[in-house]
Structure formats: structure tokens, C-alpha cells
Symmetry: C2
């Protein structure tokens, strides 16, 4: 798995996600101005159709009432991409580092706790351990 390939796949995921966000925003806007159209677009966009954004746009453009909506969705996703992507690399890099740190701390805490449990059991239980040994040697 090459970095270039990962970047390409990730870019595709982001483009799909921004298209989904654009559709949601257009539905939100239509709910104010043209509720019937909002309901139609919400229903049309359900059932996992948005998983592949380009197929979704191709198909909605072939619907009688879909042409204008498709053009609007494309304009919105274009401006979303320009307005929101700049800081994604640093947000994700920082997020991964922060979350990794949190997970490692949890793991360390859990390991320390189980270590303490073991230590407190055995170190303070020497007499009992002895008696157990005696018992078992009986």
C-alpha cells in the first residue's frame, strides 16, 4: 500500500463526504424555501445512493426535476471544498496523535492497575501463601 494510493483513496472518500454534506445543506435550504422539493430530494437521496457521489449526480441529472438540483449541489460542494479543506491535514494529524496518546494512557493505566492487583495480592498474602503451601504439602 503506497502513500500515493492511500492519498487517492482518501481524497475519493472526502469528495463523497462533501457531496453528502452539500446535499444535506441543499435539503436544509429547500426546507425553508420549497418544502415539497426538500422532501423529494431527501427521499431521492436515501437508501445509500450517496455512497458514490458521481453516480448519484449522474443519476439525479437524468430526473426531470433533478437537473437544477444537481447543478446546485455541485456548486455547493465546490465552495465547501474550497472553504473547509485547507486545515484538514493538520486537524487529522493532531487528532490522531491526541487520540493515540489517550489510548496509550488508558492501556498503561489498565496494565499498572492489574500489576498493582497482582503485587498487592502476593506481597501482603505471604503468610496465607505459606499456609496454602503447607496445606498443599499435607
Amino acid at each position: 500500500m503506497q502513500p500515493k494510493e492511500i492519498a487517492k483513496d482518501t481524497a475519493k472518500v472526502v469528495q463523497n463526504y462533501l457531496t453528502y454534506k452539500a446535499v444535506m445543506l441543499v435539503i436544509e435550504q429547500l426546507a425553508e424555501t420549497n418544502p415539497g422539493e426538500a422532501i423529494w430530494l431527501r427521499q431521492y437521496s436515501s437508501g445509500g445512493k450517496l455512497r458514490d457521489a458521481e453516480t448519484y449526480i449522474d443519476e439525479i441529472m437524468s430526473q426531470p426535476r433533478g437537473k437544477e438540483l444537481a447543478l446546485r449541489i455541485m456548486t455547493v460542494r465546490d465552495s465547501m471544498a474550497e472553504q473547509t479543506l485547507e486545515f484538514i491535514p493538520e486537524i487529522v494529524i493532531a487528532g490522531v496523535k491526541q487520540d493515540n496518546l489517550t489510548h496509550r494512557r488508558h492501556l498503561l493505566e489498565r496494565l499498572t492497575r492489574s500489576q498493582l492487583d497482582v503485587t498487592s495480592d502476593s506481597s501482603l498474602d505471604v503468610p496465607e501463601a505459606k499456609s496454602e503451601t503447607e496445606e498443599s504439602s499435607d
Copy 2:
């Protein structure tokens, strides 16, 4: 929907996706060195568990054989983030513009074609235009 909110949501999607890619890479590597572990990790990671990366890592760390795998997955996603994210904004912005252009060209071609069909069929299609207006007022 604010740009900041969209950026935050998109970053989360990217972090989840990179974690998924990291798990796939670790499985691929294990298949060479430790096939049994590869099979276990593949099975453990199925069924949509990877949809929420942080819950997935939390849970796999609580598995007896999961601690080392979790640490490895975290290291891999960290290095993936650093190696692949830099160019994501420009790849996505260019991708959206390119795909939008293609869709608009298809739409234009289709409209031109149907215009030509209409012209050759009957030069005045006023009734149809009317019924379209009626539809859109639904």
C-alpha cells in the same frame, strides 16, 4: 452549517478512514509473518466495527491478544496521516472541479440533443413545457 463544523466532521471521517486503512495494512503484513493473527484480526475487525475508529481501538485493547495489535495500528495510522494528508486539499478541490465540469458537459450534451430532437419533432412544444411547470409546483 458552518465551514468549521464541516471541517471537523470531515476530519473525523478521514481519521476513521485512515484507521481502516491502517488495519488493512497490518492484516496484509501479518498474513506474511503470522497468518493466524491475520485471520483473527480480519475476523475481529469485520461487521462494521471500524465505523467508529476510537471505539474500535478501545475495544481491541481490552482483548488479550489485542494490545500489541492496537499499538501497531496506532503507529501505522499516525505515519499514514503524516505521509499522505498534505496534498488531500488540492487533490479533492481539483477532483470536485473536474467532476463538476464533466457532469455539466454531459448535461449540456443531453439538453442539446433533446433540443435537437424537439426541433425536429415539432418546433413548438408549449404543452410539454407547461406540464413541467405544473410538476415543479408540486
